[in-house]
């Protein structure tokens, strides 16, 4: 099975949302600040529920936050 890669725009979305801090986003989503840091740094792929909550926090659809890059040629 080819493993794809999930990337995200959270840093840019935070900047565009009046420079929302990682702590503010963490509180809105219901995770710790370290988890937001891990997601932003592509070190952790959140559950579908948390992914939807992040998208909801920014008022954008899920694909506006996360993108899937397939490793298939």
């Amino acid at each position: 099975m080819n493993k794809g890669r999930i990337t995200n725009n959270i840093r840019r979305l935070r900047f565009n949302s009046s420079e929302m801090t990682q702590q503010e986003l963490a509180e809105k989503v219901g995770v710790t600040r370290q988890t937001v840091i891990a997601i932003e740094g592509d070190k952790y792929s959140p559950s579908l529920e948390v992914a939807f909550r992040i998208a909801h926090a920014f008022g954008v659809p899920l694909e506006g936050v996360f993108q899937y890059e397939s490793s298939d040629p």
């Binding site: 710790t32 891990a38 070190k43 952790y44 959140p46 948390v50």
Partner: protein, 151 residues
């Protein structure tokens, strides 16, 4: 280093266990010749268990005062599960070796009665060592996943 409350909690538990049980086993392995627990060795074992509990309570009170306690989120729970899986395989392997050793020692003690025997003091300490190493591995694996990430 920017660490979460859970990560600091895990690091504290790892260090407490490492220091207290290093002290215990350094003493226990000096008395390997004895077959049973006596007042001194049993007292040291009870002291070790109480010391771990006291250190953990004091450390977590100090940690709660210094940094705001945070409930575990999904990443903390996933890291804990992965660390438990690593520790489970280590414990299974360790206990399998202990069982194999007991069987071999049992057969050997029948073949050479009076010369080879498995003393309860040694047996308890070997099993305790496996359990402690497994728990240390569990804490270390959690810290590894916190630092490396889960991808």
């Amino acid at each position: 280093m920017d660490m979460s409350y859970q990560e600091k909690s895990t690091l504290g538990s790892l260090l407490a266990m490492l220091v207290v049980y290093a002290y215990y086993f350094a003493n226990a392995f000096r008395h390997l010749g004895q077959s049973q627990f006596d007042g001194g060795t049993l007292g040291r074992l009870i002291f070790t268990v109480i010391a771990i509990i006291v250190i953990e309570i004091v450390y977590h009170i100090a940690l709660a005062i210094r940094s705001k306690p945070e409930p575990k989120d999904e990443r903390d729970i996933l890291i804990e599960c992965k660390a438990y899986r690593t520790a489970y395989f280590a414990m299974f392997s360790g206990m399998s070796l202990v069982i194999a050793w007991l069987i071999v020692a049992g057969v050997a003690s029948v073949a050479a009665p009076g010369r080879i025997s498995v003393a309860p003091f040694l047996m308890v300490n070997i099993i305790l060592l496996v359990l402690v190493l497994t728990e240390l591995l569990h804490f270390a694996a959690q810290l590894f996943y916190y630092r490396r990430g889960l991808r």
